[in-house]
Symmetry: C2
Subunit: 338 residues, 2 copies
């Protein structure tokens, strides 16, 4: 059966799948990234994992994979197939596309940025299915976005497009590790909400999910922290939709796990702000932490010139947190906090 390899490389773990050209998920696998062993070892682990997946496909589905897609964090030059920079993997200018293609006997390989690749999957086969224009925003340790136009995610001239976490929503506000002040990421990421709530409630271990629970139980301090984040997020989203005019805003990442505790006030705050702009629908991400891997499969299938039919999102797919966006700046890697 004709199929592709899909691989999503995270700071801690890698998720992989073999996906039929019709979109059916034929096989899933996971492996530790093992970044403590160094940058070169991570590359070798990826290549070995991909080769095993190829062998598995040959054994169980009668032929080796016809293409491969891989999503990686950091700064990605998709056109040259190079992982330009990934702080948490120690990478600089790793020609991953060519390395993988060569290890897989010359099959075509596509390389993508993790959040943009996850956004591609959400836009084409997830929460944005059928929409022509979407903005996917992942609220995790950081905040990153993916701009989808006619089935393609815009990478920008240098692979930096979609960095909505670093638009300034509070001029002169809190310093951001990126060097600016008042960035959205410092106000509305899961980390920022967790920090603000830890400070407000006095429990240094409290995180964004705890804040959401406290909001639900009627704690006014939590409500104040939460509304501050919602207001900042609405400001950032309205700026983005004024520029981009998307039909759908897809919100994922750890903070989106709060469900209507987030979406109800967020929709109200966006609606309150728009004037002449068209209000997009604001929906939660649907693919959970499979988005990156499914997106990598789409990149691979695009290389074959196939178009997706109904995709498989298999039952083990947990519909909560979407991938943590990686900051474009060197910050300590961490997992989604809620």
């Amino acid at each position: 059966m004709r199929h592709v390899i899909a691989l999503d490389v995270g700071g801690t773990g890698m998720k992989a799948a073999l996906i039929g050209v019709d979109g059916a998920v034929l096989h899933r696998a996971r492996r530790a990234t093992g970044r403590e062993r160094g940058a070169d070892a991570v590359v070798e682990t990826i290549l070995g994992f991909a080769a095993e997946l190829s062998a598995h496909g040959e054994e169980h589905f009668g032929e080796p994979a016809a293409a491969a897609g891989v999503a990686v964090p950091g700064i990605v030059d998709a056109q040259r197939g190079v992982a330009a920079y990934a702080a948490n993997l120690g990478w600089r200018d790793v020609p991953l596309r060519d390395l993988l293609s060569s290890r897989l006997g010359g099959v075509p390989v596509a390389l993508g940025h993790d959040v943009r690749t996850g956004g591609l999957a959400e836009g084409r086969i997830g929460a944005g299915r059928g929409t022509d224009r979407f903005l996917f925003v992942a609220l995790g340790t950081g905040i990153a976005g993916a701009i989808g136009i006619d089935g393609v995610v815009e990478a920008g001239a240098h692979g930096f497009a979609g960095e909505i976490g670093h638009i300034v929503v509070r001029p002169g506000g809190m310093p951001c590790p990126c060097g600016q002040h008042g960035c959205l990421e410092r106000l509305a990421s899961a980390s920022a909400v967790g920090e603000a709530w830890a400070g407000a409630c006095g429990d240094p271990d409290a995180d964004a999910a705890d804040c959401a629970k406290a909001v639900e139980s009627g704690d006014p301090r939590a409500a104040a922290v939460w509304q501050g984040a919602v207001d900042a997020l609405a400001d950032g989203l309205v700026t983005a939709l004024t520029l981009l005019d998307p039909r759908t805003l897809i919100i994922g990442g750890g903070l989106a796990g709060a469900g209507e505790t987030l979406f109800t006030p967020l929709r109200a705050a966006v609606e309150q702000r728009v004037t002449f702009q068209k209000l997009p629908s604001i929906v939660p991400a649907a693919l959970g932490d499979s988005a990156g891997c499914l997106g990598a499969g789409l990149l691979a299938r695009d290389l074959l010139g196939t178009t997706e039919t109904d995709p498989e999102t298999d039952p083990e797919n947990d519909p909560s947190p979407t991938p943590t966006p990686q900051s474009p700046i060197p910050t300590p890697p961490s997992e989604v906090t809620t």
Copy 2:
């Protein structure tokens, strides 16, 4: 000779051209829009003008135009070929594409938004020639933009993309007729600079060009007004480049007529703000007020599946003001003020 009709409809005048499929401008013409005669009369004037241009082509170049492109102000649904709304022409849902095609004997017609169409020309054959990704920003009575990606200008889901004039750069700031507060347009348009300078110098007729002259002659009050506009503009541009990662920022409109009085401090202000973002080149628009008409020609030629070679920008082309962006909100129409 195979050619197309290009037509740029402004609030006061229309500019037209016959353009060869190689990009050569074969013929130019102008006509008053005559909006005082009402919405339907303007449509009829356009149709009649186009028919005359077609007849001129048939007579002088041996065949009628093979396609037509037309740029109009307001809100444009390019996909359906409908001029959805234009306050200064009194238009609502005018099916201009089909009307024109029918008047021209069935030739294919493309309809575009004036600023986006002008931006297309700047990006493909003007200041951004050869660039894969650009943002064109026109600083006129209002501020509007065009997002160019791989030779196409992004219209958005509802025809609103590029409205950089209405991103909020000063939260809680000056009210904007659009209903928001602190919009970029209220701070850095030619009109806003003119108003601020008129207030500062006490001459109610002073405009943005007068302010630029006063800056050049060392007037400190003018310098303060000017720097305020430059700072706001830099804030807005940095927000846009953080989201979009363009390779080139093309600045046009009346305010860009100030040349290095604008560009030197603007480049410095943008450079000072960016941290991890890649600095795009910041260049003045090159096509002057021909951009909309030349862009309409590109839309028409795209319908024929031709690709441009070296374009003609003829000698009468004045390289100063680019088209005044139309606000998406109903404001009294006026021409570029500098």
